[in-house]
Each structure stands twice: as C-alpha cells, then as structure tokens.
Symmetry: C2
Subunit: 169 residues, 2 copies
C-alpha cells in the first residue's frame, strides 16, 4: 500500500476473521509503535500484546467498548511508563504517537484495528491494572483491538477547510 | 513510498532547502491530519499553517526549539479546540494522532518535519497565543516545522523486546 494513501484511508475496524495474528506481524506492529517520535527521544512506552482467548474474553469486563470488538484475535494495551518519562507530562503524547503508528501499520499490513480510550478516565484504570497485573508506575493509555478485517469501509471525508488558518488565526 | 516503510523510516528533520511548500501539498498534509481517529469522532482540532517569513522568523522568540529548524519554509501549529471536545480530556490524544499523521504524511510526500512540544508546558502558551492571535478556547499543542529535506537520516533502530509483554505483565 502506498504510504500517503494508507494514512488517509485508515478507518476503525471492529469486525475480524478468525485468522490469528502471527508472531512476525506482532513484531512488525511493535517495531512500528517504537518508531514513533517522543519528547527528547524518551520512549516512555510499554505494550501488552494479548492473544490468550481467556484474557481477550475478560477485556469487556474492564473496558466496556471492547465488547464491540470482541471477536478480535488480538489486543494491544499501550501504556506509559512513568519511570521512563524524562520530559514531564509528555508521556501521553509520546504514547499516542506510538498508538497511531500501530493503527496505521495494521492498515498498511492488511489488518484492521480500532482504538479504545482509557487514560485519563480514572474509572477505567483499576480493572485493567488488576486483570493484566500492571505495576503502579505503568499507566494504561489505550486499548487496541487488531485482526484480519471482516468489514471494509470507504475513505471518510473529514477535511474541513474552516479548521485551517493561514499565517495567524 | 510503501506505507509500512514510511512509518518505520520517519525521522525528525531540521534542515531544509529553500523550496517552498506548495498549496497542494499543504492541502494534502491537512487532509492527512484530519483523517486521524478521535474519541467518538469529535475531531477537536484546529491548525495554523505558517508560511509568512515574518511570522516564521518570530517563532523562535515564542518557542525556543524553533531556532533549530529556523530555515523551515513552513510551520504547522496543531491546536485543540475545547469548544469542540465532546469526550472530556481526550482532545490531547486526538490532536496528537493528527500530529503524527502530519509527520508521516510529510515523510510519505518526500518532505521532512520535526515536532516541537508545547502543551502542557504552561510557559509556552502565552507567547504563541499572542503572536498568532489564538482565541481562549484554542490551546496550542504542538509546533511542527516542515520543508523539503536538506538532510537524510538512516532508520533509527528503537525496537526493544523488553517493552513488549505477552498476555499479561
């Protein structure tokens, strides 16, 4: 897939075939995640790749939106590691750039994915922490469902000229 | 450029030729920005595209890091519009996904770009607000310098297997 095309055609995909996501593809997705820029190159991220069916089946109990993507053969929990944050308060942006890279890489590799928000909704943190055994200094930011797509969506036309200002507001 | 390759080879580029960035390319970059996912599709973003040399020359006075990218023929200020935020506190992540799309689209189109952080560093907000005339409900998140690259960098090898956990921490 051509790079610019991939960026503008990525959509949220919530239906998947039963085909598993291979170890090679997992490695590629994680490599793409860690290719993201970060403040002062601090790279304050950690990832939990979930393919165990029992854990996947438990995810809707700790993140309600996961029930809409329940057939996913894989989830990725993107987390911020506060012990690795050198530039205070930029971990959210760093880990979000990594998240967007995973979504785009999935699309580029023929997969489909969808992003479910966690942080800063405090009520979504304890359940995920407990289910996945996260230490205190690791904050779950985003939960992604990933799989081979069983739906396709046309490009969303979101361009809005009124959002672009030239030289000053 | 192939899509996956673009994601893993993007680097921060701070040296540019004097070639201007055309209106067509600006439109493509903004289209890519607005193709980003957002919480409940709220799209809480606004962008200021700066190509006026007098404004570009003033940017280092309000964002010290811009002096390292001073030859850039263009900057993009990515902002959150708090009046458009429907899902409280997700505007930072939405606008960061848009930021990453601009950086990747620039690379995909043969340009180079670099991201300079603003929010939540409170001391960086008033100068940018005043210089660009931003209204109170618009919060500057990230300043990007963009141009035709006058430097090339090899792929950064950032993959770290210790950051990937399987099924649980």
């Amino acid at each position: 897939m051509e790079a610019y095309e991939a960026i503008v055609t990525r959509r949220s995909i919530r239906k998947y075939t039963s085909e598993p996501v291979s170890d090679d593809v997992v490695k590629q997705l994680m490599d793409a995640a860690m290719a993201a820029p970060s403040a002062g190159n601090e790279q304050p991220w950690q990832f939990v790749v979930i393919r165990d069916r029992a854990v996947l089946d438990a995810l809707p109990t700790v993140h309600p939106n996961f029930r809409h993507a329940q057939a996913a053969p894989m989830a990725v929990l993107v987390c911020g590691d506060l012990e690795k944050e050198a530039h205070q308060a930029f971990w959210v942006q760093d880990c979000t750039a990594a998240t967007q890279n995973v979504l785009l890489a999935a699309h580029a590799l023929g997969l489909g994915a969808v992003w479910m928000g966690i942080y800063p909704r405090e009520e979504r943190l304890p359940g995920l922490r407990k289910l996945l055994g996260l230490p205190e200094h690791v904050v779950p930011l985003a939960l992604l469902a990933v799989g081979h797509p069983a739906e396709s969506k046309p490009r969303a036309e979101r361009y809005d000229a009124s959002r672009v200002h030239y030289d000053r507001w």
